[in-house]
Amino acid sequence: MKPEELANMAEKKRILNAGYKHCIGVCMESGCISSRSDQIVARINETVKARGLQKEVRVMGVGCMGLCGNGPMVKVNDGHPMYQNVTPEHAQAIVQGLDSPTGNPELKHLVCDLEQSFFRKQKLIVRSNSGRMDPEDLADCVAHGAYEALLKVLTEMSPIDVISQITASGLRGRGGAGFPTGLKWSTVAKAGGAQKYVICNGDEGDPGAFMDRSVMEGDPHRVLEGMAIAAYAVGADHGVIYVRAEYPLAVKRLTKAINQAMRHELLGNGIFGTRFNFTVEIRLGAGAFVCGEETALIASVEGNRGLPRPRPPYPANSGLFGCPTLINNVETYGTIAPIIREGAGWFSSIGTEKSKGTKIFAITGKIRNTGLIEVPMGITLREIVFDLGGGIPDGKAFKAMQTGGPSGGCISARDLDIKLDYESLAKIGSIMGSGGMIVMDETSNMVDVARFFMEFCMTESCGKCVPCRVGTWQMHRLLDRIYEGHGTHTDLALLKELCDMVKNTSLCGLGQSAPNPVLSTLRHFEDDYLDLIKKGEAARAVQNADSVAVGTTVALEVVS
C-alpha cells in the first residue's frame, strides 16, 4: 500500500459509514458471544432486512464495551442509549426504537447508564476503539486510525527517534514487571546480529485476567501496528504472536487481521513503499502458565517444553533461536500507536511520577460491575472498587482485593486509599501484574485463597529447579493442613521459612513470586491463619482427651 492509499481507504470508509442513518454495534467478544450475542446480530439483521432498512441501518459486531458481567451489550448510535442483558428476542424492539434518541420505551429496563462512574472514570487509550468499530473489517479499523502511526514512523522518523519517543513517554511493560519499554527497545536495537525478532506475549495465563484477550479480539490491527513499529525501531523483520490455545476467537481475529494486512501490504515487503519488511506469524500456547515467562515462552516457540533458563543472557541479546529478541505484552504493543500519534508528552502527562499512562484491569469476583476498565495510573483502589466497581453486592463488606494473579498478593481494606502505580502496589506486598483484580467479600477465607494460588503454582511449576518444584508442593501441603484444621504454630513457622527460601532461590519469576499470595495474606490477614490453628488445636485437645480416656480403658482391659 502506498502512503496516500491509507488516507483514501480511511476517507472512503468514513463516507460510507456516514451514509448510514443508524448504527447498531453488538459486542462480539468471547464473553458476550457465550450469551448468544451472535444470534442477536443475526436477528437484528433479519429485522432490518424485513423492514427494508439495509441502506439506513448498519449492523456490526464490535469489540468489548467493558461491562462484561451485564452482557450482551448493544450500542445504538452515538448519544443514543446502550442496552445491557440483551437477548435475541429484543432484536425487533431495538430496531423499532432506532429513531428515538431515548430508545424504545419497551426496553427501558435494559438501558445502561452511561453516566455512571464505571464509564465516567475511565480513560480509554488502548481500548479507545473497542466497541466503536468492526475489528474484522480492515477499512473500518483504518477509518479509526489504524496504521497511521506506522506510516508516520516509516516516513518521518528514524528508529532512534521512535525509541526516544517511547523512552520519553515513560511507558513501562504492561505484562506485570513494569520494565521501562524504551530501555528494552534500545537494548535490542543496540544488540549486534543480522537477524532479530519481536515477540508479542499473548499467553495471558493469570486466572482472572482477560484484558489481553479483549485487546486481541477487539482491536487486532492495533497489536500488529505496535509490533511493526517496534520491529522498525529495533531492526527486526519478523514477529511472533504467542497466544494461548484457550483463546480461539483471539487466534481467529489475529489470523484474519494478519491476512488482511498482508493482502493490503501493511505487512510484508516494502511497507508503504519504504525499505522496511515485516511479517508476523501466530504460535499457539498449549496450556502452560510458565510460558508467560519470557525465556520459557521462547523455548515454547522453538517447539520445546516451556522451561525457563537463567538470565543473563537476556532475550534482548540472545532470544529466539539465539537471536536478539524483543518481547512485550499485548497491552504494551497496544499503547505504542497512540504514543506515536499523540506524542510522548501527552502520554507522560497522564498518571503518576513513575507510572505513566493508563492500565487495563479485569475486575471480577464479589463486585457489582464485573468487566474491563481502563483507568489512569494514580487512581485509588477505593475508586476502582466502590465507584467503578459499584461496591460489594448482597450487603456484604469488602475484605480483600487480589492483584497480579498467582504472582501477586492480597490487598486489605486498610490500603484501599493508595494511589495505583507499580511502586505503591509493590510496597504493600502485591504487584501491578498483568491486570487481574479479584475482589473478595467477608465470606472469603484468605487461607483458602492462598491455598488456591499455591495449588496453581504447584501444578504449573515446570519442575526444572528444586526450590519451586518441591517448595510449592510443601507449602501447599502446609496450607492444606492449616485450612483443614490440622495445622500447628510449627507449621506456620515452617511455612514462613519456606516462603523466604522459595522466593530467594527459585530460577524464574514463577517460583520467585509463588510465595507472594501467602506472604501478603499473612501480612494483612494473619488472624485467618491463627483462628484456624486455634480451632484445630481446640478440636484436637477434645479428641485427645477422649482418646486418652479410651486408651486407658483399653490398657486396663489388656492388663486384666
Binding site: S30, G31, I33, S34, S35, C68, G69, G71, E204, G205, D206, P207, G208, A209, F210, R213, A245, E246, Y247, R283, L284, G285, A286, G287, A288, F289, S300, V301, E302, G303, N304, R305, G306, F321, A362, T364, G365, K366, T370, G371, L372, Q402, G405, G436, I438, M440, S444, V449, F452, F453, F456, E460, C462
Partner: protein, 170 residues
Amino acid sequence: MTMTHTLPSAPTEDKRWRIVEATMRRTGFEPSGLIETLHSVQQAMGYLDEPALRWVATSLRVPLSKIYGVATFYHHFTLKPQGRHTCVVCLGTACYIKGSKQLLEQVEKKLGIHDGQTTADGEMSLLVARCIGACGLAPAAVVDGQVQGKSEATMLLDRLDNVMAGKVES
C-alpha cells in the same frame, strides 16, 4: 531447508492426516513446528496416540522421547481418547471465588468421575480449566465448546443431561 524431505507414510489411510501434513509443511518440517503439529493432530484426531507421535517424530526428525516430553508437559494435550461430549469447569480465581469448586463437586457426583476422566460409556469427559477468560460471567463452564456463564449447578446438570440425551446439538 535445502534437502528435499520424503515424508514417512501417515499412520493410517485416514484423510485427516493430510491436515497434519499441511501444518508440518507450513512450518517447513522444522522441529520448531512441533507444538503446532501436535495441536493439528489433536484437532484432527481428538487426541495424541502413540502411532501419531511416532509419525510426527520421524517426519520432523525429532526424538520420540522429546515429543513425549512436550506432549506431556502441556496441559492442553491429551494422550487418551476423549468422550463424545466434554464438560470443562473453569477453576480460575474469579470462578473459584464464586463457587466453581462446589460446581465441580456436583458434576463429579453426577457423572461419577473425577476431572480428567471419561465416563465408562464414553459419553462425557470432565475437565477443569485454569481460566477461560470469561471471568465476567463467573462461574463459567464449557459444554461441547459452548460457554455457559453464571452457571448454577442445576442449570449445568440439566444441560449435561440434555447433551448426553442428544437433545442439544453439539
